[in-house]
Symmetry: C2
Subunit: 241 residues, 2 copies
DNA sequence: TTTTTGGTTTGACCAAAATCAATGACGACC
DNA sequence: GGTCGTCATTGATTTTGGTCAAACCAAAAA
């Protein structure tokens, strides 16, 4: 397992100055903390590590620091990036045997993993934790449905714009009437996430740049100059009829 | 609200000979049943009714009989069918204000709806119900992720094949080395579900028919003659590496 | 039964995105 | 600071699936 090897490179004492801090963000009652900590498997990972966690059984994973992607593999080497996750996000990762899912590090990162079955059992005795988990799942389902809509109905331009808007909301630093992003993922990751090739992603970025909606510098920095225009491009309008 | 009007057309006494039966399929403890029943809103709907339930607040809906689709509306009249649901399925339907979701009847059907907030609160005092709800959400998330993969990575042929395999598993009657399906949804619904136009769906069906993998009769009946070949076409192979 | 209606299939054509192929640039490492 | 490898961009071409339009068929209505 890669994580172990990385944990050696980034010793736990550095990664987790206080083991309690990450678990605290789950918002559980005091009594639950100790039991959660007993359950927790801490994992540090280097950028690009795949198999960051042991998913021989389903896991609930909390991102303490850094960024990861959840990928699903289909036939013929095609992969779909199911999602990107950042500090304080948590993720339900199904066991590998049922679906070919895998968690990969985008940057050096710190994770806490709980075996899902035990996590859920524990949550049953703690209303707060249970509620948090439930509302997380509902949000995850909502986001996944939103992504289905994008993949099923939206054009390349709209998908790229949607992606950028979403990233701005999640990891953007406010800037003028937009945001500044430092994208930790490659163009391939982006393409695999929104169902496009890297070339198409690149072309759409160029067009958005030419339209004066974004500007880029280097491979990872994106400045969103006009967030309103970008949202327009993203085709956001849930119209209740 | 349509449901009320339909309920008049299909009186409750006919729809629900015993009000307890549907709730029972939630597998809750005896003590919870009464409280669930107090919460339940029964709705009958005619085929093609949209706005089958009142989703001014989020709802948990159980399909007692018939078939429904959950649709999401985007700009420019584009709609995505998030999923099809049949007897005993249950569905989390978010409030209309957050996302433009709507439940529509595909056939005459009978539903039981619970306001999500109260349902969840109730589930907290009943481990069985809570577990059922949780595992339902996990399965829903899994299926939604699977759909994302299909929409993001699969070709038209693979999507149609995937759709048929899924329907065979859910509502197919065994037949030779395949299954017989009576599809309650139109080609448009299918297209909106898998991100294709009706013409493309039709063409792919024709090709599958020419390949001897399926045969059709009328608008709704599909015989899957060779399920193995269909799965091959669907590009099913989660390869754990 | 005949008619009507609306969903479905088929074909011709078109557009969007994928593929193929170079070129260019960033960043890591020497 | 230079070199190399990887990733990103750009362009030419092909492919896939979408669009438009006509014909067809099944189910319901007259």
């Amino acid at each position: 397992m890669h994580a172990k090897q990385s944990a050696a490179a980034l010793p736990n004492s550095i990664i987790f100055p206080g083991a309690k801090a990450p678990v605290a963000s789950l918002g559980a009652e005091e009594a639950t903390h100790l039991r959660l900590q007993a359950l927790a498997r801490y994992a540090g990972a280097r950028s690009r590590d795949s198999r960051v966690i042991d998913n021989s059984v389903s896991q609930v994973v909390l991102v303490v620091e850094g960024a990861v992607k959840l990928i699903a593999s289909a036939a013929a080497g095609r992969t779909q990036v199911m999602g990107f996750y950042f500090k304080d996000d948590f993720i339900y990762v199904p066991a590998r045997d049922t679906h070919a899912y895998n968690l990969c590090a985008l940057t050096d990162c710190e994770l806490v993993a709980f075996p899902a079955t035990e996590f859920i059992r524990l949550a049953q005795s703690d209303k707060t934790l249970n509620n948090n988990f439930l509302s997380h799942l509902l949000r995850a389902l909502g986001r996944c449905r939103e992504k289905s809509l994008a993949l099923g109905q939206k054009t390349a331009r709209e998908r790229v714009a949607t992606f950028l808007v979403s990233m701005a909301e999640r990891i953007g630093a406010p800037f003028s009437n937009g945001a500044v992003l430092d994208l930790p993922m490659s163009r391939r990751d982006i393409g695999d996430n929104i169902g496009l090739t890297i070339e198409t992603v690149s072309r759409q970025m160029t067009e958005l740049r030419n339209a004066g909606i974004v500007s880029t510098s280097g491979r990872s920095q994106v400045k969103i100059l006009d967030l309103a225009a970008l949202k327009q491009e993203a085709g956001h309008l849930p119209v209740p009829t």
